[in-house]
């Protein structure tokens, strides 16, 4: 009960942030009725999905300060669990999604336990490696469809058990609910014991240890929480796209996007990953489809994308939210 109260308690934020959250929530809720096309709706779904990923990454990467670049492997585990159990045994989404999360948690514990002996860049490289290894295994494993991937069976009529709908609106509302669960969880997390301990670890590991914090265990806990988050998103990707392959759910590109969005928005703050996703997902999508389509302009979207990241990281390492806070501190 106490935890739930903390999760729903946004009182320690400024008035501007509270109003912003309310307006944003109203917008999210009425968005499907604004009459936007299916492309815009798809972009919104991507935005919510990447916000969810980013918030998960934020536990270990933002609050804990560990540069984690292998989240795609857990997206993959979530997605493959849902897809394979559906194809093989017709297990409904509502059973297979939690199974995927459990598998991701178990696997991340196995990976995290040895990995957190490493620090800094070595840790970052190691996370990339483990993710690449898993992707390669899946790309060559005949049983799980190898590089061809898996297609989910399409049902004739909408089916809530298997999360199959004709309209994107249903998917939209479903990912919106997941988004809010994640947001409330993170709102609790940032003020939890683990949240505080992780921030101390980020600031000064030696001091953290002298204050009774088992650094490695804290990192492992945060890492498994982050993995659970992205595995939920992975499960959603499977039922939403109805097709998954190692290149779409386990690629390094995905890992980097997850980390980048959270960092660009502001690692270690509640709003950071959402702001980052709100910037980069539309940029990625619109630029990709408008500019990328024209001859001679291929790659321009990536250039703008990377310029933006360079500018923000040079100006304020704490991302867009860091810039906003900087201005607010100056103003007050």
């Amino acid at each position: 009960m106490e935890k739930l109260k903390d999760a729903l308690d946004f009182r320690d934020f400024s008035r501007a942030e509270q109003i912003g959250l309310i307006i944003f929530s109203i917008f999210l809720f009425i968005f499907p009725w604004l009459g936007s096309g299916s492309f815009v709706k798809a972009v919104m779904i991507q935005f919510l999905l990447f916000s969810l990923f980013g918030m998960g990454w934020n536990t270990i990467g933002g609050y804990g300060g560990q540069v984690e670049l292998g989240k795609a492997q857990y997206v993959g585990i979530g997605a493959y669990t849902v897809a394979l159990t559906m194809v093989w045994w017709k297990i409904p989404f509502w059973v297979s999604m939690p199974m995927g999360v459990l598998l991701a948690v178990g696997y991340s514990f196995m990976i995290g336990y040895p990995l957190f002996r490493l620090k800094g860049h070595y840790f970052a490289i190691a996370t990339i490696c483990t993710s690449l290894v898993l992707q390669d295994i899946f790309a060559n494993w005949k049983l799980v469809g190898a590089a061809k991937g898996i297609e989910l069976p399409i049902h004739d009529h909408p089916d809530f058990l298997y999360m199959q709908f004709k309209s994107d609106t249903y998917y939209y509302y479903f990912i919106m609910v997941l988004f809010y669960v994640a947001l409330f969880y993170m709102n609790w997390f940032r003020r939890s014991k683990l949240g505080y301990q992780l921030r101390m670890i980020k600031d000064d590991e030696d001091a953290a240890e002298s204050l009774g914090i088992d650094i490695r265990w804290c990192k492992i806990k945060a890492y498994t929480i982050a993995s659970a988050f992205v595995a939920v998103g992975g499960g959603f990707m499977a039922v939403y796209n109805l097709y998954i392959d190692p290149a779409s759910v386990m690629d390094l590109d995905l890992s980097i996007k997850i980390a980048l969005m959270a960092m660009l928005g502001g690692a270690g703050s509640l709003w950071g990953p959402i702001i980052g996703a709100a910037f980069l997902v539309p940029l990625d999508r619109f630029l990709g489809s408008w500019l990328g389509g024209h001859k001679g302009l291929i790659g321009l979207d990536f250039m703008i994308y990377s310029m933006l990241i360079m500018v923000v990281s040079a100006y304020q390492p704490r991302g867009i939210w860091g810039i906003i806070e900087q201005f607010r501190r100056k103003g007050s």
Binding site: D6, S192, Q197, R199, K202, D206, A207, E209, S210, G212
Partner: protein, 243 residues
């Protein structure tokens, strides 16, 4: 049985013997100063006790429990707190959040941690800077925050590594009063490394001297200042009387 018993600690960094057969005991409620010239092995000894280093041989016994080689977070849970010579000053957390992290060592409840941290800051006279960040404070206050956050873990033995370095006269005097209060009111046993002789001699009940990794003297502050070996270690042979 002594409160803290160090017996025959040896720590060898590949040829450089930082601690060589160091043994001493501390009783509960004492204030003990640990002094010695630069490179005498004081901080190394601290790290061996708390668990940042594993001693090559020897034993650390705290409250009749062998804690040799335990990790720092375990020795902290056992009741030993320590501060650092150099404190990393970051903008990541506010003063009260820093102290809350310490309080979280003994509780899982955020509200309990918050009220304990708040009480600790008031005790140390930092009540007015709770929401500041470390980098916005003068060095004397930063040190006090470092002290506050380790005190929030409720240590029975507090090991202070040069808390007074970089402080001016009045600040040092304040600190001495504070340490005495801690010892008297909260019953915390203190072991402090210090370079400022005036301070360590006035606050300590007993002083232990290290030189080149070995214990060369131990006794009351009044005895230590007259000890020939200590004078030799600090000032060189020609200042000792016998030469």
């Amino acid at each position: 049985m002594a409160f803290l018993e160090i017996s025959n600690i040896v720590k060898d960094f590949g040829g450089l013997v930082a601690n060589n057969n160091v043994s001493f005991q501390i009783e509960q409620g004492e204030i003990v100063g640990l002094i010695g010239p630069n490179g005498a092995g004081k901080t190394t000894l601290f790290n061996c006790i708390v668990g940042y280093y594993k001693p090559d041989s020897g034993k650390v016994i705290f409250k009749e429990k062998d804690i040799t080689g335990l990790k720092p977070f375990d020795t902290n849970k056992a009741g030993i707190g320590r501060t650092f010579q150099v404190m990393k000053v970051t903008a990541g957390m506010s003063v009260i959040e820093n102290v809350m992290v310490g309080a979280f060592c003994r509780t899982d409840d955020r509200h309990v941690a918050q009220s304990e941290a708040s009480g600790m800051l008031d005790f140390l006279g930092l009540g007015s800077v709770k929401t500041y960040h470390l980098n916005e404070l003068p060095i004397a206050m930063q040190r006090k925050v470092g002290l506050a956050r380790v005190l929030a873990t409720k240590p029975e033995l507090l090991m202070l590594d040069e808390v007074a370095s970089g402080l001016n006269h009045t600040e040092t005097d304040e600190l001495v009063l504070l340490l005495r209060r801690l010892n008297a009111e909260k019953g915390v046993t203190l072991l402090l490394i210090e370079h400022i002789m005036e301070m360590v001699m006035s606050v300590s009940h007993r002083v232990i001297v290290l030189d080149y990794g070995e214990k060369i003297a131990e006794g009351l502050p009044g005895e230590i200042v007259k000890n020939e070996d200590v004078i030799k270690a600090y000032l060189g042979d020609k200042y000792a009387k016998n030469h």
